[in-house]
Symmetry: C2
Subunit: 465 residues, 2 copies
Amino acid sequence: MCANNFKINFVDGGVCAIRGVKTAGFREGKYGISIISFKNSDATGVFTSNKIKAAPVLSTRETLKNGKLSAIVANSGNANCFTGLDGETDCKDMINLVADELNISSNEIAIASTGVIGRRLPMEIMAKLIKKTANNLDDGLSSSTNAAKAIMTTDTVHKEAAIEVQLENGDKFRIGGICKGTGMISPNMGTMLCFITTDIIANSDYLNKALKKAVDDSFNMVVVDGDESTNDEVILIANGSSNLDVNVNEINEAFQKGLTVLCKNLGKKMAFDGEGASKFLEVEVINAGSEKDAKLASKSVVKSALVKSAVFGEDPNWGRIVAAIGYSGADFNPKKISIAIGSDDINIDDFDLININNINNNHNINNNHNINNINNGSKNINFNNNSINNSINNSINDNENLIYLVKNGNVLGFEGTKSLKNAEKAMKKKYIYVLVDLSNGNHTATAYGCDLTYDYVKINADYTT
Amino acid sequence: MCANNFKINFVDGGVCAIRGVKTAGFREGKYGISIISFKNSDATGVFTSNKIKAAPVLSTRETLKNGKLSAIVANSGNANCFTGLDGETDCKDMINLVADELNISSNEIAIASTGVIGRRLPMEIMAKLIKKTANNLDDGLSSSTNAAKAIMTTDTVHKEAAIEVQLENGDKFRIGGICKGTGMISPNMGTMLCFITTDIIANSDYLNKALKKAVDDSFNMVVVDGDESTNDEVILIANGSSNLDVNVNEINEAFQKGLTVLCKNLGKKMAFDGEGASKFLEVEVINAGSEKDAKLASKSVVKSALVKSAVFGEDPNWGRIVAAIGYSGADFNPKKISIAIGSDDINIDDFDLININNINNNHNINNNHNINNINNGSKNINFNNNSINNSINNSINDNENLIYLVKNGNVLGFEGTKSLKNAEKAMKKKYIYVLVDLSNGNHTATAYGCDLTYDYVKINADYTT
């Protein structure tokens, strides 16, 4: 176990940050098509666990059994789900259209769809958009943005990110992605689609393990409304253009961490843009008895309709937080629990202002402490600053920007207290951070979500999605 | 297994429908006190499974180990939860005040609280209200209503019900109850409290088994927002004033069914009055492979934020229903599923318009089919008419008021179809009934809920509860 130092920097270009990847995306009304092309790459996918699976999900799962892809096509505006044999035919027709345009085999094309359930795809529009998109594939930086925009549905901003990982010897590899929607295990019906490219050399089996691990710590920790879509897909392709092989130990480790950082970044952007969201909510549970407990407790708080409503109302209602932890299934002693709140004003791009130096090999990315450098005078908020050598507990206790409402089971946030008043002020900002210390072990997890607003209800009551 | 015929009729009086029970309730501002007095009765309770339990929950759980109660005291306005040793003292003081007023032992008094978490009880107000309430105990019909009103928090209407069960030989016994809040396993934070009285002769162990079974099929099938309170209590007391002993077989069976009918009635009223609710949602899953599957699927639909938003928007969005069943964990074949919608205009009192004749001993109360007699020309809607001898499937398929959107996996509710238009019209009514046929066995379950509205968000964003 030698120390393995590497740096992670965010770079421009999304999926096209990787040499050899071309993309484009176009819209017509509520419909959009994105194509990502990368020629004969190793590939894997993670799919919805909903018993109802859309035709494109079933098709891509089958295609990926070969572990190879040359292109991905995705459409917005129609989920092609619960559409029977007609839907399967439409799905095949879309793939064949892309195969013809790109002159590749239909067995190397993944497909994904997002939009309304139970309606036939408008194939004329699809055909026209596929042709236009295929003819405009490009590796320029803006093409990834266009592709990210073409798959948006109720999203209000497109989501993309790319990182460059620099090893100690100077070698570099990249990972880039675009996504839409709100999460994997508990997304809303807008469907979560994510396409990730990397220039590492890795086979499909390795990529699958790495992707599952990264998704577990990122997209699966994002909760917007607890509904799970019929169409969720995350696809990862590796085209090997960096000439760096993941079988080398230090590359392996750097890749896994880099992939998790990228997925967390995209996951946070999803939560930030959750349907109707006015605030971004991050709940970190530390000192849990197990990783499972930490995840149960953090997700329970982020998922609670009452906590989400309180966040919308800018009410530091720690009673609801305590209750949500209480019914989460996590083990803890109420007399030892601590709850603190922090906040800051951020916008979505701030998630990319990060410079990760992996100084301490044992410092897990999950274990970074996100609030440490908030309000440090710089606009460069280090949301994931895991370069700190302090132990987590020390840094938390020392942090004057955290407002404790409950400490070791004692209530500090009673009505009329300075703590509660400070917390009320803190709740007015855009980014709300909740720290829960269970004092029951040394496991940590962070979940991401957003508030429950009038607009969430409006979006989902007014429109068939 | 002889046929056991009995009739269940709703009667007036709530908890005071039972001879020997006195009650009263008074409010002062946001605080209220209810006392129910019944002298040395057999008793049992079911409590929240939240790890965080309020002081009154811990106290009552301890008291009920003796299986005997003489009174119940409940307050609204403050949950006395997460209040440490001070909270335990306040709880004991309240009990002692009641013991003094009623001249009974403090070991025979159950206590329950509902309201804001983490604040000390205002003991001066509590003492004043307890004195006033204890001095006004009465067995008149209106006293139960006053008690039900005094425990309301965000409730907009008080909830009470009582039934009289008449056996074939003419013997009668009664069960009455009052409640507030929204459900047991998945209530909102308003806390679910329910106090049930009966004149049957039964010991505490029997009552406990009967209550758990009834709660599982009623309050545990009510979902308003999926949050589970720290203060939920359901208490059942039997004072034996009917002189009918539950150890007689036919009484035993009639009591269990009667108790379930009463709890379902109160559960439906809770869902009807869910926070911010504008519509009552009932989801019945039939022909499931197991009871567990039926419960998973029905609760998943009722709990889905997207389904709830669609109901608010009067949108018959069967795609979201299909998706919610898909991620419920229930086993089924998407190609065999059927989904239908029915509706009617009702008000909360219609839940009491019921006359249950238990003609067929094998016809389980869970298996009745609720929509059958809707729109039958009478205002007496039989929501739980289980006197029908038809098999469930026949009666559903014959019912012209059910609008099928999916039948045996085929979509009937495409855009522009008559089915979808009829369903859109149906969604405008107050009571929305969703029938899901999994064609995977012969198990049935019904879950109750409400829509997700702007008012839900407003209520929970604007006020600390």
